[in-house]
């Protein structure tokens, strides 16, 4: 991917307008931190870029390397190099994880992997993510803990090798050790040229990932697009200064909650660390 452009994107969920004219671009090699209060459209934007049919597109375009992908299905977007690590990954009853990974990897290739090639790649990815290989025999995400699901998302990212990876609160549900593993995998992918669009509420993750840019989403639009120093400012001051300095009144949550099972372990750990 050379460039992803979001042009005047409007979208709604169940008749509620969530995105109200989003303009944003991401270039190759960039790592963009997307911040914003809860319920202001960050997850909706990521889902819409990936093609989630739950969101209704009301206007605007998504352009990937000059191609209008606004109306493409999620599978075609994935094949063009987009990846979304989801906030609440689905549990699929009966679908063996290894069978799923093989189907996903083969979907990205002209010629299917041999069993030996697949097994070697899968084994390496499980090892890198610190997940026992035994987990590959279990049904996809079924009965996984919150942390296991998040690691499993990054494992899929490693195996599919996208050019733009979007991470939606990948740090929620992860303990400190798991965050280190996940951050290492992300940084290695970034070093190889993968671009990132990262949503998190915690500066801790961003300090580990060192984004090259940061943007703040308020009321379904990008209110601020600037350098990574925005992350520390939000961590220190919250979002009140946006109203003060930019005159933008921050509405109450406009998007339905996507965060039904997420737990912010990072914040708890940080509070404990600081208390020592």
């Amino acid at each position: 991917m050379e460039r992803l452009e979001i042009i005047d994107l409007h979208a709604s969920v169940d008749g509620i307008s969530i995105l109200r004219g989003v303009n944003l671009s991401i270039k190759k090699g960039e790592s963009l931190a997307l911040l914003g209060p809860n319920g202001h459209g960050k997850s909706t934007l990521l889902g819409l870029i990936m093609g989630n049919p739950r969101f209704h597109l009301d206007g605007g375009k998504i352009i990937l390397d000059g191609e209008d992908i606004t109306n493409l299905g999620p599978d075609e977007r994935s094949k063009r190099g987009l990846f979304l690590a989801m906030q609440n990954p689905s549990e699929i009853p009966g679908l063996n994880s290894a069978d799923f990974l093989k189907a996903a990897m083969n979907a990205h290739r002209g010629k299917p992997l041999t069993l030996f090639e697949f097994y070697r790649k899968m084994e390496a990815a499980y090892k890198e993510m610190g997940i026992p290989l035994e987990m590959s025999k279990r049904n996809l995400n079924e009965g996984f803990s919150g942390g296991e699901k998040k690691r499993n998302e990054i494992l899929q990212m490693l195996l599919l090798d996208p050019s733009l990876a979007m991470l939606d609160e990948i740090d929620s549900g992860l303990d400190v050790d798991a965050i280190n593993v996940v951050a290492k995998a992300i940084n290695e992918a970034a070093a190889k040229g993968t671009s990132f669009l990262v949503v998190s509420h915690y500066a801790r993750l961003y300090r580990m990932l060192k984004p090259t840019r940061a943007a703040i989403m308020v009321n379904g639009r990008i209110a601020v697009d600037g350098d990574p120093s925005l992350i520390e400012r939000v961590d220190r001051e919250g979002y009140e200064w946006i109203k003060r300095e930019l005159g933008i009144e921050i509405e109450k949550e406009i998007a339905p909650s996507m965060n039904q099972v997420s737990i912010g372990v990072c914040a708890t750990k940080e509070a404990i660390d600081n208390g020592k």
Binding site: M50, G51, N52, P53, R54, G73, P74, D75, R77, S78, K79, F83, L84, M86, P89, S90, I92, P93, G94, L95, N96, D99, F100, A103, A104, A107, H108, N139, Q156, L160
Partner: protein
């Protein structure tokens, strides 16, 4: 069931319309059905003696309409039964299955598991009774019947019944009919898997646990038949 001392009967291809089998005291029987031609009205009865056990495996994946009824009578003390069904209905199929188990003696156990997928304009109906008669104390019975409905015009019913005539028993049942979860499809598609393939994986995930009780050749038949049915719809 261990293979060594198990009597095995396989019906692959045409299956009989009626069947009356007895499992003698201490005997172990495995009966597997994989119909490859249509059946319309089938009624089976299995009588299970003291400390005997029966396992029935039924993989119904071909396109047809029909009614299936079976009755497993746990007549001998300590006898047990396991029933596993996968049914795939496509196009305009109308299928109904009513597997029943009757506990007539003490210390008997039964597990009935039926899984179904309905696509196109098909209809799939699961019923059947798990009954524990009076004096069949210390018996345990469990019945699960789940149907997943793939398309707007497909229909699924799941209404198994429990009848309990003794207090000193354990019984449970689960009956579920659910639509194909769009979030599941989206999740698989977001990993590059085309929609048809995603539907196939979800359907197979639902039905293959039963198919895995067959050998490779039969499993392949099940998988290919389901794939054909999905793409036909």
């Amino acid at each position: 069931m261990e293979n060594s001392s198990v009597r095995r009967i396989d019906y692959f291809g045409a299956i009989p319309n009626t069947l009356d089998l007895t499992v003698g005291a201490g005997e172990r029987l495995l009966v597997r059905f994989l119909p490859k031609v249509a059946f319309s009205d089938v009624r089976y009865r299995f009588q299970v003696g003291e400390n005997a056990s029966i396992e029935v495996v039924f993989a119904d994946v071909i396109g047809h309409s029909g009614h299936f009824e079976s009755e497993i009578l746990l007549e001998g003390e300590g006898s047990s039964a396991q029933w596993f069904l996968s049914s795939f209905a496509s196009s305009g199929d109308k299928k109904s299955f009513a597997p029943s188990v009757i506990h007539l003696a003490p210390n008997t156990t039964a597990k009935v598991e039926s899984y179904g997928v309905a696509t196109g304009e098909s209809r799939l109906d699961f019923s059947g009774v798990s009954e524990i008669r009076k004096y069949a104390r210390k018996s345990k019975t469990r019945q699960t019947a789940k149907v997943i409905v793939f398309d707007p015009k497909s229909d699924g019913r799941s209404a198994p019944m429990l009848k309990i005539g003794d207090n000193d028993v354990e019984a449970s049942h689960a009956a579920v009919v659910g639509r194909l979860n769009e979030d599941h499809l989206y999740y698989l598609e977001s990993r590059g898997i085309p929609r048809d393939e995603a539907r196939r994986l979800i359907a197979l995930g639902y039905l293959l646990p039963v198919a895995s009780r067959f050998e490779e050749r039969e499993r392949k038949f099940v998988e290919e038949t389901i794939m054909g049915g999905l793409f036909h719809d």
